[in-house]
Each structure stands twice: as C-alpha cells, then as structure tokens.
Amino acid sequence: MVFEYTPYILPLIAAALITIVIMGYAWLHRSTNGATALAFIAASITLWLLGYALEVAGSNLETKYFWGAAQYIGIASAPYFWMIFGYQYSGRERKSSRTFVLATAVIPIITILLAFTTRWHGLIWNEYYIARQGDFISLGVGHGPWFWVHFAYSYLSLLIGSILLGRLLLRRRQELYRGQAISLLITVLTPWIGNALYLTGNSPIPNLDLTPFAFTITAVALAWAVFGFRLVDISPLAREQVIDSMQDGMVVLNRRGHLVDINPAAERMLGVTALMALGKEAGEIFAPWPHLLERFRGVTEINEEIVVGRGNAQLHYLLRISTLLDPQQQPAGRVLMIHPLGVNPSPGLAPVETPQRVAVSPLPRKASEPIPAPLSPSFWGRLTSFFRVPLKLDLPIPEGANPSWYRTRERIFTVITRLAAVIGSVSILTVIPAMSTVVDPLLPFGIILFLLFVLGLARNIQYEIRIGVFLFLIYGFGFIEALNYGYSVECFIFFMSFVVTSAVMTSRRGAITTLLVAFVTLGTFATLIGSQSFIPLVTKAYNDIPAPATVQAGITSLVVFAAGMSAVVAAITILLENVQTAWQKESQAVNLLQQERDLLDQRVTERTHELQSAEIKYRTLVEQLPVAVYRDEADESGTNSYMSPQIETLLGYPQSEWERDPALWEKLLHPDDRATILETIGETLRQGTAVAEYRLLAQDGRTVWVRDEATLVRDENGKPLYVQGVLEDITARRQADEQLRKLSQVVEQSGSSIVITNVNGIIEYVNPHFTKASGYTFEEAVGQRPNIIKSGRQSLEFYQEMWQTISAGQTWRGVFHNQRKDGTLFWESATITPVHSPDGVLTHYVAIEDDITHEKEMEEALQQAYQNQSVLNSLLNIALENLTLDAMLERALDIILTIPWLPTRPQGGIFLVERQPGILALKAQRNLDGALLTMCALVPFGHCLCGRAAANARIEFADCVDERHENQYEGIQPHGHYNVPILFRDEVLGVLVLYLDVGRVREPREVTFLEAIGNTLADMIRDKQAEEALAQARDQALEASRFKSQLLSRVSHELRTPLGGILGYAELLQTEIFGPLTTAQNDALGNVIESTHYLTGLVNDLLDEAQAEAGALALYPEVFEPTALLNKIETALTVLANKKGLTFNAHIAPEVPEKLYGDVHRLQQIIVNLVGNAVKFTIQGEVCVTLIRPTPAQWAIEVRDTGAGIPSTEQQTIFEPFRQVSNSISRENRGSGLGLAIVKHLIELMGGRIALESEIGQGSVFTVYLPITNAPGV
C-alpha cells in the first residue's frame, strides 16, 4: 500500500482519536446501560474515520479501494449500533434481545461482506476509480444495488434509534437525559447529513466526502455527551434502576397536574401501570382517595403521615410533596414521595408486634461525585490513566466561570494534547518518513510535539497560557499553510480549527478574538495574494496559480469564512452555555433526588428507630408505671386473663398467682365494695367504659384503695372481645383526701378563730368560731380586712411590726386586743403564718386566734395576788429578821405605806394593846401630826375611828374628816382613813391606821387586802411577842441548867478529895502501921471504908447525871473484844452474886462479832449497873448476862434476873433520875436512884435504846440494843 500525506487526513485522525477515547471510556463503563452500544458506535465511527483517512491518504487505486471497502465495517455497523443503543438507552432493552440483536445485524454483516468482495460482484460499487480534484485525490465509486439496500437500512436504523432517543427526549423532562440525547443525535446525525450531501453530489468539492468534517462535530458532540452529560456515568436506565428499585413510591406531576413519571413502587401503591397513568390527570389517578386528593390539591410542600384504607387493611404512609423547579427556577411540577409505614404504626395497648421492618435500599453512589482515577500500578493502568486524565480539582478557576465546565474543558484539552502528542510521535516515526514532502517535516514536527507534550503534561501551567500556546500552534499551521499555499483547504481548516477550538476551549471573548485574528490574517493574505504583491512560497516554487486569484475572490471566500465561523462560534457558544446551564441544573436535580433519597432513608431509619424505641418505651412504660394493667373476659364474671407484673407491688400477689387463679380478684374484693364492683362490671359492659374506686385486700392484710378504669374492647363488628383496664393504687390519695377532710373539719370545728386572707389582707375565709367570737357573719367578714375587729387600743407600731414580720414571710405570734361587732372588747392570742405556693410565692396569710380574755383577767388577778403576796412576803421577811417588835412595826409600816396600788398617803401608824387591856398604845408612826402623837398615844377601844375599829374588830373607812373623827386638833388637814384592826383570831392586838386623800371610795379589793395585812401583822406581832418570851425563858433555863451542872461538878470534885483522905487514913489504919487494932476497931474501919466506897459511887453517879443533863457527857470509843469485856465483868460480879447466894452466868452468842467499837468503860458501867441492880433485887435464883446479835446491824446486852419483877406502872418511870421501884429502898438495896437514868443516857448517847420486860414475880429482862459501828477509818 502506498500512502501520500494529505492535510485532509488531519481532521479525520483527530476525530478518530476522540472516538477512540470515547470508545475506551464507554467500554470501561459498560455496566451502565447503553454504554456497551455506545462503545460499539464509537468503534464503528473510529473504523470509518480511520478507513476513510487511509483511503484519502492512499496514493494508488488499490490502496484506496482496500480502505474504501474496509470503511464499510464502520459504515454498515454504525447505524446498526445506533439503533441498538437507542433501544438500550431508552430502557427498552427487553426488545433488544439477543435474537433481535442478531436479526437486525444480518444486513450490516452482509453489507460488510459484500463491500470486501464488491470488485467481483459490484453489488456495492459497480465501478471505482481515482478521482482528482485539485490536490484532493479520492476514490470515485459507482454504487451497486446492495448499496441502496444498505443505504436504506442504515437510514432506517438511524431513524429508529433517533426516534427512540427523541421519545426519551420528549418524555424525560430532566435536562440531563435530554442533554445526553441531543448530543447523541448530533453525534450520529451530523455525519449522515454530511454523508447524504456527499452522496447526493452536494459536496462543495466533488468527490470530497463531507463525512470526516461532520465527524469532527460528532467527536465533539460525543465528548460533550460523555463528559458533559455523563453519558456513560448515568443513563436514564440507571436512573430507573434507582427510582424503580425504591420501596418508596414516586410520582411526578407537571405543572398542569398531569402525571409525567411514576415508579413501580408507586404503581403498586396506586394500583395503576405507568402506561395507563402517564399523561393522565392526577385527579384521575387519585380518584379512589378523594380525601387525599382534596387534602393535597395545590399543596406544594408537605411531609406528613397519611392513612389509606380502613380496618385491618389500614395502611400508613409518609407523604412528601415537593416542588420540581425548571432551570429558570420556575415551578415545573411536583414530586410526590410515598413512604410506607405499615399497619398500625402508633403503639397501642394491643399485643406488641415485632417492629416494622422497613427495607432500606442501599444508597446508590452519588452521581455528583467525580470519578476517581483508578490507582493502577500496571503498564496498562498507567497508559489508560495517561489518557484518562483525572479532573484537576485544584485548578484555579477564574471568577464567573462554571467550575465543573472549566475543569472538564481543561481535562479535554489535556487529553487532546496528549493524544495529539502521542499520535504525532507515532506518525513522525512511521507515516511521515514514507511521505514525499517538499519540506523536511522533522524539525517543525519535533517542535510541535515537544510543545504538545508540554501542554499535555504540564498541567500546572496556567490553563489560559496552555490553550494560548495551543491556539497559537494551530494559528501557526494555518499561517504557514497560507504562506506556502495561499488560500487552501488546509489553510481554512486550520483557521477554522483555530476559531472553533478557541470557541470551545476558551471563552466567548476568546472565540471572537481568534475569529478576528483569523479574519485579519486571511484578509491580509487575500489582499496581498489577490493584488499579486505576494505569491505563496510553494505555489511560487511550482509556478501554480496562487489562490485566491484575485482580491475579489479572496474577499468572497473571506466573507464566507467569516460568516460561517461566526455562525459556528455563535452556535457553539449558545450550545455550550445551554449545555452548561442544563448540566448544572441536572446536577442539581440529581443531587436533589439524592438528597430526597437520603432524607427518605434517614427518615426511614429514624422512623424504624422510633418505632423500636417506642416499643421499648411502651414496654418500659407499661411495666414501670405505678399501675397494674389487666385484661378480663367480657362477661359478668370478670375472669382475669392477663395481669401486669406491677400487681405484685400493688397487692403483694405475684403475677404467677393471678395466672394460676383467674378469680383471685373477686376473692380480694372488700366485702363492703362488692356492690360497687358488680355495678362497675355491668357499666363497663353496657357503656364500654367505667371507672370505680374500691378496696382490695392485699396479701399482707392491708386494705388497698384502687382506682379501676375499665374499657370494653370490641372487634370490628362491635362484638365485645375483652375488658381491659388499669388498676391504680390510690390509697395514699384516699388517705390524703381523708386527711384533708379531717383537716377541713378541724378548721370548721376548731375552737380557735381561723382567718385566711390574701396577700393584700383581704379576708377570704373565716371559720365558724370566728363568726361566733367576733359577731361578724361569714358574709360580713369575707372581703373585709381583719381590722374590722381592731379595737384601736394597740399602737400603730404594734400592727406595723406584725405586717413587717408576716410580709417578710415569717410567722408572727402575739396578742390582739380586739373589739366584737357589739363593741365589747376581747383579748386574742394570735399566730399568723404566711402561706406560700409550691413555687415559693406568698399567696395567703392564715391567722389562728384564741380568745384569752379570761386568761388575761386571770393573769391580772394573778398579778394582783402576786403583788399582794409579795407585800405580805416582805412583811413576813421582816418578821424573820432579828429585830425588836418596835423596829419591826416601823419597817412594816414603811412597806405598807409604799404599796403602789394602795391609794394611801405616806402617813399612818400602828397601835398595839399592851399592858392595859382595852387601850391602844401607839407603837409606830410615820409622818403623823405632832399633835396626834400625844393625843393618840393611848386610845381607848371605841374612841374615834381607831378605837371603833378595835372595838368592832372591823375595818373602818372614812372619806373625810367628820364627826366620826373624834380626835380633832388645831390645823387638822382634811383626809380619809382606813383603820384596820390587827386581829389574831378574835383577839384584837392593835390597829393599823392609814391616811387617804379626801373623796376616796371604799374598794372591796382594798379592804380584802388590808384585812390580809391586818392578819399578817397580827401573826407577826404574836410571833414576835412569843419569840421574845420564849427566848427569855430559854435563857433562864439554860442558865439554871448550866449552874446545876457546874454545881454538881464542883461538888463532886470537892467531895472526892476529903473522901480520898477518909479512905486513905482508914486503909492505913487497917494496915496497922499506926499500931495494932482491936477487932472492934478493925470492924469499924471496914464500915468506914464501905461507907466511903458507897459515897464515892454516889458522887460518881451524881457527876455522871449532871454531865448527862448538861450534855457534857463524852464517849471515848475504841475497838474492844466483847469476850474480854464479859470476862472482866464475870470476874467482878460473880463474887457479888455469890455473896447473895445467887448464880451468875455470862454468855456470848456466836453471831456477836469478835471485835466491836465503843466506849468500853461506859459499856462496863452499863452492865455493872444493870447486873448490880439485878443482884440487888433478886433474892434467889440467878442473874444472867448474855451478849446477842438480834439483827445484823445491832448487838445487844441482855440482863436477866429471877427477882421480884417490876410493876408495869413503874416500868416507865424507873429510868428517870432519883426514881426507884416503890418500897424497894431498904437497908440492903439503897442507891442513888441515878443508875438507870445514867444507863439510859449513856445508851442513848451511844445511839442505842434500852428495853424492859418484867412481871411481878417473874423477874426482869433488861435489853440494851446498840448499833454495830466501825472505828473511824476502818
């Protein structure tokens, strides 16, 4: 094959490159519906383009023929794939089944086969030849019969595909799909229009197939479709997959209310098919649900729950209506989204079902996201990513530009430059060396390739600069072409590319600028060449005729170019702007749709969650409510079929107990409430609902008040199903009610006045006692202020203090002196308490008042009595002082005259009856007139007021000085008197006279008090007199006693010394130191000694008795052994007893302690005395001493004899001094008579006592009881 370079191949190759890119891109996205077909379309077009390019470049017939035939692979298959694409893209895939695809492929396959074999049968081409038109050498052909078949079939296929896309165009309001469809139509139809022009001989250059030029447009349009409308990213079918797979119904209404789109879910919900429904009025579709129609007619935005159907078939949906806006932001219609919520979405008391499971379709990938470049490390991956340039997101976007479009444009530009660079590189290595050209192409090609690589790879260079360089490159081609050849096809193509590229790749301004530049350049060339002043270089070299031949022709071409390019620029600009806007809107719409879906999904998720949590809440609520829920049979029995677990808290019986015994409730009924309950059951059954409060008996025996709210549940037909209800423990409330009732009763029946006022002090309530106490009725009091009972006797400050206290929120306590309605006064003790509302605001005052008038009077009386008593007490206190009678009377008079409440002047006196009966003697006086002191020094009874008071023993009163005042004197002042007799029982001791101011009235109170004073004075005087007499007598007695004791003591002392002399000399004589004695002398001496001993004993006794009576007897206690004491006595007394022929025995009981504490000398004296007496008065028998212990705390000495006994009459007196049993004194038994008296004294001094038991002839027993004491410190 031989090829020759021709510039005609450039646009073809460029277009082929674009279609290759699209093919690859579409193939990679073949999962999208229609993308596979699109890839095949692109492949077909690529083959066509390449075939044609090679045909054009072919330098001989054979080459041209081969490539001309090869083109048919593309030519025949392109319409066919178009049709298939149309089917797939419009969602009619089912019609493009395998059979259909194969059947419709028959004719294209035949065509291809025939094309390659046409030289033998001529069915496609009946002739072919080299056709030369200027420098354009092409393959000329004559068409055979099959060509026309192919022609017809191709156009038919195109038509079908176009119609399908056209319908899509009409049906889909979404700009995205419409944009896709439009660009596709342009893609496909443009080359065929060009082809048609060529075939019909309307090509501007004969045999020049316009198809390649059209393919430029095709490639661009395809690029738009792919990159602009995301042709292979999202197809209508993909949209349907999203919308159709939705569980939610979607209905789109246009502005006139016609249904323009509906998804399968909505079809199911509404019971219509899309075919039936599309285009119909919404009213028609929604006719079965007139209420919904009415409700939502004209509504543009809503989001609410609706109910469709009734009974068990009732369905709940979430309806969302939103407005659909067109690109101009005008309402284009409405979108209805219907989300099913299921049956009974609201939780009730019905048995809980599993929560609604709402299917959530997986979220589709967001269409607006840029497609991420796959990070493939492989060579192929790198290669594809080299051409599949990712969007440059950090591209600086000029202000006002559409960022998406701007980025896309940059991407396209980069792809184109890279492709151009690669293809150029391949060309320079393969194709160009094979071509015979005038100019060595290597250097300029190398520069151009370098520039292209820079432009394609150096994406960081500012886009405007890159596109500027690129445009300059194209311009350079055009300029060099013009420089070499003048006006030529290539020249125009280059300038056209220059302008179009600028229009597409830059802004409108750029397009106009390039247009002007191209116009000026071409215009310059036209002028120069047309005027022969410049001959293009190549033309000159070959001596060809330069084009344009004349200025005229040049201008004509220029004008055509300018007009054509202006139109193209305008068209492109408008198209781009529209496409941009549409794209933007479509993106928005897609985003909106996605948002809808997201919202819906979110709503579904939320709703599901809500349902779940509602279910949990419900359960928790029911189980945690302080009430029990039950279900009973719908009959009179009230048999229980369900009871919630709280019943255990309520009544103590666990749930299981209720399950076991359905009639438990009835058993627990309080007998008194049975009637109420039966009535309630009846009422529930009759009316469907009833409430009762009654008592149940809890397990622990408590009575529980419950509130039973029962509801009869019926089925759809109204047949009673069961009774369900709630049992609430209202015991506390009942008790509170009861408490309240009691309290209220207490308030009503209270014996205290209770007044409730508001904060302003206006009475809102008074209790009955208040009305009784105050005399105001309830109606009279309410609305008034409490000052209606104010007496005004208390100070303003008192009330101010009260108000300050209570308005500060504090309790006030105090006493009111109030006035009744009838004007009488009374005292009240009051407690006023502020009442606060629960939020702490002062709302009321409560006053509780008690009548204390009586107490007040009592208190005053008490006060009076206390005062009186204190006066009397002070008088008595004086009496206790060691004062003389006269001093005492003066002090008493002072006190009486200063009693504050007694209306006396400080003037008065006290008379006493003294030595002379019937005469009052003035003993004490204060401030009496001097004349009176003598005149009234002595007043006889009955004389004057004082005398009469004494004589009558009665208080005399006078309010002035008159004839009753007999003792008058010169200068007497007018005055009144109280003359108070001082009475001791009935005896008048004296008179108290008090002076009063003239005109005083006799007050019974004063009289009573003065009587008391009179009596007190009498007591005092008598006591004082007695005391004085007593003191005198005592002093005398004491003196006498002291004298007696001293006397006795002295006598005894003085007696002892001579007694010592007598005894001593007698004993000396007896020893015969003074000489021998005769018997008679010796006897006499014995008698002297005996008498002396007797006298000594007598003296001792006398002394002891004297000491005892003088209280001077002292004890000298010590620790002693009773045994030793007894032995000593026994030794001394046995002799004495034996002398008289008596037996003496001494015993000691074992209980008696071994050691005792006492004055052993005196004890011995006691025993000797008693035993001595016993021996003395016993003639025969025995005397016995026994120590015993009658009680643990006592020991005793018992002296028993067998004597004559003591007569009971004398038993009491024998212990008195100098007493002896009568007739007992004889020669043998004389004594001082002091012995027993001393014994008794001693015993009493020791804290003991002596007892005597005796009978005449039976002997006597003296028992001395003594306490057992311990030595101090023991």
């Binding site: 005894s1052 010394t1057 005894l1063 001593g1064 000396l1068 130191i1073 000594t1096």
Partner: protein, 118 residues
C-alpha cells in the same frame, strides 16, 4: 540506900500527901513531897525517881506541864496521875503511865508501886 527506890509525891492536899507517902514508905520507897508544885525541879535534880504520884490541880503549876517535864527528862520514870476530874484524866491517859481517880485506895497505889521495887 542505893537500892531503895525513890518516889516523888506532888500533891497539894496535906492529908492525901501524908497517906501516899506513908503507903509508899511502907512499900519500901524513899519519898519526897512537893506540896505547891514549886519544889519538884529540885527534887528531880536530886535523883531519878522510879515513881511520881502527880496531882493535877496545884497552886503554882499545872500537873500536865510537870508531866511533860518528867517525861522529857526521865523517860523510865513511872508517872501516876491522881485526879478528881475524870475528863482531864482521860486526856492524860496516853501520856501518863497510870491514871488514878480520887478517892484513891492504898491498894491501888501499892499496885502501881509494887513492880518498881528492886
């Protein structure tokens, strides 16, 4: 007579002093007498007495003071207090060796004196 015990009688009553001295001499004692309570210091200086019979009521001295002096000077000397006052006698019971209440019998004196001879 170095072996003859020495006794001092301090007694203001002339009869009683005679009786006591006689009784003591009969019992084998040398005796000395202080009638007024003024001689006893010289008597005590002359020799250490075995026994002192001491009356408490004396014209120039108190028996209790004399008792103190004797006790300080001759602790071994036996002192018998003779008194009519029972109460005073009790108060001196601790200090004196014997307390004899008037009237005092010869026997009781001899009983006190007997252990002191030789």
């Amino acid at each position: 007579m170095p072996n003859t015990p020495y006794a001092i009688v301090i007694e203001d009553d002339p009869h009683l002093s005679v009786i006591y001295q006689t009784a003591l001499q009969q019992a084998g004692f040398d005796t000395a007498l202080d009638v007024n309570g003024d001689l006893y210091p010289s008597l005590l200086d002359s020799a250490e007495p075995a026994l002192v019979l001491l009356d408490l009521h004396l014209p120039f001295a108190l028996g209790s003071d004399i008792l103190e002096i004797i006790r300080a000077r001759y602790p071994k000397t036996v002192v018998a207090v003779i008194t009519a006052d029972f109460i005073i006698a009790k108060t001196l019971a601790e200090k004196a060796d014997h307390v004899l209440i008037k009237p005092v019998s010869i026997a009781s004196i001899l009983k006190v004196a007997a252990p002191l001879k030789g």
